[in-house]
Symmetry: C2
Subunit: 405 residues, 2 copies
C-alpha cells in the first residue's frame, strides 16, 4: 500500500516529537508499505522567520518572503530523514525543486499546478521513505512560492493524487472530526466517516481540522483522506466520497463567532441595487455569507448580510461612501452575533431536519435572526452569548453523542 502521511508544525516542533513521528512512519514502513511524508516547518519557525524579516523590512516583497519561509520546511524534512536514519531506515528528503512541485506564479498564496512524480517514484523504487516539503512549490520563473493557509494539507492530498496513493493521512493535534467542538459539547463524538461535501462545509464553517482546499482537491481526485492524531494511535476520521453506512442525517454542529451582521435599510425597490451593493464589497475581496432581503414595502427594501467580524469596519465604510448610488437610508451593524450550522449529507432527502433544529433553539428560548441553507447544511444566526448553549441543545436534539442514531 502506498501511504501519504502529513504532519503539521506542532507535530515536529522539537526533537522528541520528530522522533515520535519517525516512529509512526517506521511502523508503516516495517509493515511493508511505501511511505511518502509531507512536513510543515517546525513549531514557531515560520512565525520567527516572519518576525526576523519584518525587523529588517516591515513590508517585504512576497517573492523574498517565500524564499525565506520555504527554508522552514526544508529544515523539517532534513531533520526527519536524520531521525529515520537513527532507526536504521532508508529515507530521503526532497524540496519542491527536487520533486518538481509546480505552482501558479502568485507568491504567498499560489495554487498547485502539476506535480512531477519521477523522482519520488525512483526513490520509492529504491525502498526509500520519501520526505517532502509541504506548503511550497516553484512557479514558472523557478521561484519559490508558498500555498497560503493550510498549504501542507493541500500538498499531501496533491501528492496522494499524483502518486495514486491508497490513502492520505493528515495528522493533527485532534484525533479526528467530531460531531461538535469537544471543548463546547462534553459528549461530542468522534465520527468514523464523513463525506467530502460534509467536510467542506465543516471546514468552511470553522472546524479547524482540514483546510478547504485540501478537501476540494481530495474530492476532485477521489483521494481517501484520514484525519488522525499525531499524539495517539486512535483510528481517526475517514473523509471520502460516499460513506459505507446509511447517509448520516446530521454529522455535526459547528459555530462561528467571527461573524457580524450588516443591514442596509430603506433601499429603493429597484432592480440592480443588490448587485451594486455586493459588487462594492467583492471588489475589495470582502466575502459576504448569509444574505437576506426583505420584501419591498413603501417602495423600499432592506438588505441584511453577514461578513467576517474583521471586515465590518471596512465594509461599512465602503457602503457609506456609495450610499447615494445604493439609495439606502441607513446602515445598521451588529457584531454580537454567531453562526450555528448543522452539516449532514442525509438532510437533503430528509424533511424535518430544519424543523428539529429550529425547535431545539425555540425550546431553549434562543431567537433566530437569519437562516441560510445548502444541500448539506443549515445555518442560523443567533445572538453570540447563546453560542455554547445553542450548539449543545442542537447536539442533544439530534442525539449526536450516541453511536447509533
Amino acid at each position: 500500500m502506498l501511504i501519504v502521511k502529513k504532519f503539521g508544525g506542532s507535530s515536529v516542533a522539537n526533537k522528541e516529537r520528530v522522533l515520535n513521528v519517525a516512529n509512526k512512519i517506521a511502523k508503516d514502513y516495517k509493515e511493508g508499505h511505501q511511505v511518502v511524508v509531507v512536513l510543515s516547518a517546525q513549531g514557531d519557525t515560520t512565525d520567527e522567520l516572519i518576525k526576523k524579516a519584518k525587523e529588517i523590512n516591515p513590508t517585504p516583497s512576497k517573492r523574498e518572503m517565500d524564499m525565506l519561509l520555504t527554508t522552514g520546511e526544508q529544515q523539517s524534512v532534513a531533520l526527519m530523514a536524520m531521525a529515520l536514519e537513527t532507526l536504521g531506515l532508508p529515507s530521503i528528503s526532497l524540496n519542491s525543486f527536487q520533486v518538481g512541485i509546480k505552482t501558479t506564479s502568485t507568491y504567498s498564496n499560489s495554487r498547485l499546478k502539476r506535480i512531477d512524480t519521477d523522482r519520488m517514484l525512483e526513490e520509492i523504487e529504491r525502498k526509500n521513505i520519501v520526505i517532502v516539503t509541504g506548503f511550497q512549490g516553484i512557479n514558472r520563473y523557478d521561484d519559490y512560492t508558498t500555498l497560503g493557509r493550510g498549504g501542507s494539507d493541500t500538498t499531501a492530498v496533491a501528492l496522494a493524487a499524483a502518486l495514486n496513493a491508497d490513502k492520505c493521512e493528515i495528522f493533527t493535534d485532534v484525533d479526528g472530526v467530531y460531531t461538535a467542538d469537544p471543548r463546547v459539547v462534553p459528549n461530542a463524538r468522534k465520527l468514523d466517516e464523513i463525506t467530502y461535501d460534509e467536510m467542506l462545509e465543516l471546514a468552511t464553517l470553522g472546524a479547524k481540522v482540514l483546510h478547504n482546499r485540501s478537501v476540494e482537491l481530495a474530492k476532485k481526485y477521489n483521494v481517501d483522506l484520514v484525519v488522525r492524531s499525531s499524539l495517539s494511535d486512535a483510528e481517526g476520521t475517514v473523509v471520502k466520497e460516499e460513506c459505507k453506512m446509511e447517509k448520516t442525517l446530521v454529522s455535526g454542529v459547528v459555530s462561528d463567532k467571527n461573524t457580524a451582521r450588516i443591514a442596509v435599510v430603506g433601499i429603493k425597490d429597484e432592480p440592480g441595487k443588490a448587485f451594486q451593493l455586493f459588487s462594492i464589497l467583492s471588489k475589495k475581496n470582502i466575502n459576504v455569507d448569509i444574505i437576506l432581503q426583505s420584501i419591498g414595502r413603501d417602495g423600499t427594501k432592506d438588505i441584511t448580510f453577514t461578513v467576517a467580524e474583521d471586515n465590518v469596519e471596512e465594509a461599512v465604510a465602503l457602503i457609506e461612501n456609495k450610499m447615494s448610488v445604493i439609495t439606502g437610508q441607513k446602515i445598521e451593524c451588529d457584531k454580537k452575533v454567531s453562526k450555528i450550522s448543522i452539516v449532514g449529507s442525509g438532510m437533503q432527502t430528509n424533511a424535518g431536519v430544519a424543523t428539529k433544529m429550529f425547535e431545539a433553539l425555540y425550546d431553549a428560548g434562543i431567537n433566530i435572526h437569519m437562516i441560510s441553507t445548502s444541500e448539506v447544511k443549515i445555518t442560523v444566526l443567533i445572538e453570540d452569548k447563546y453560542t455554547k448553549e445553542a450548539v449543545n441543545v442542537i447536539h442533544e436534539a439530534f442525539k449526536l453523542g450516541e453511536i447509533n442514531k
Copy 2:
C-alpha cells in the same frame, strides 16, 4: 563595471549588519555598477543547525546535513533582498537551483564544476542586484551539496570568473592582508597588493583571510580579488597575477602553531622506505608538510616530517602498525614546535633572503629545527615558545612595517 561582492556570516549576523551591508551594496549600484552579491549563513546559524541535527542524530548522513545547512544561506539572501528593498533598490535572491551552481557529487565537501550564467545575466539585464547563496551547489542527482571550509569565498570567485566580472571583493572582519598578524606584530602593515602565489602560500600557512581554493580559482581564471573590511571603507588588499610595483622581496611573515614533528629513526637505508612511510599517511588523508631525510649512516637513515597537530596520534599509530615494513627502530614526536614562514614573490631572484631570516633568528638565540623552501616561501621549524618573538624579529629584519622597503 560588474562587481562580485562576498560577505561572510559575521558581516550579516544581525539586522544592523544586514542593513550595513545593504548600504555598501547600494553605494556601488548607485554609482552605476552591476552588482552580484554572495552571502554565507548569518552568524552562528550553521553551528546552531548542526547542533539541532546532532541532537536528533549524532552521525547524520552528509546528504541530509547539506540539505539542512543550505537553508542558512537561503535565509541570508532573502533577508538581504528585503533590506535592499527598504533602500528602494531592485534586487533578487537566488539559490543554487535557481542560478545553476553545479558541483561534484560529494556531500559536505564538494567542488564546483559549472556555473550557469543565464538567470544571473537575465536579472542583471533587468537592473537587479543579484544575491546568491554561497557555500553550496547542486550535484548531478539534483541534491544540495556544500563546498566545505571557505566555500563562500570559492563561490564568489567562481561567479566572478563565470560572469567575467571586473573584480571580486571578499569582505571579512580584517581590512586586508598584513605583513604579519597585527595581534603579534604591533607595527604590521597592510599590503596594497599581493600576488596569487604569495597569497596561496599565506593562505596555506594559516593567515585566515582567504581560503586556498578561492585563491587557486582566482589564479586559474585571473580574477582580480580584493580583500577588504565589511566594517570600514578602507581600501583593502588586491590579489592579482603581477603586482604593479617591483616584485616584493618579502611580503609577509606568518606563523602556524598547529604543527607537530614526527621522526622515524633507524630506518634501513634501502630504496622505497620513504614511499612506504608516506603512502601509509596519504591513504588516510593525513597531509605531510616539511620532510627531512638524514644522510644514511651505519646502514640506517632517519626521516623527520611535520603534520598538523590534530593528526599526530593517528599518524603515529598508523606508522607503528607498519614498523616492520618501514624497518624503523623508533618513533619520536614533538608537539611543541611552530612553523615560521616568510613569503615573497621576489625572493626567487634575490639571494640572501634566507640568510637574513636565519641571521635574525640566530641573533635572537632561536634554534632552527627544520628548513623548507619553495619559490616564494621559506619555512623554518622552531620551538613554539619562541613563535611571537621569531615573527617579530623577522618582521623587523626585513623592515616590513615600513612602506618603502
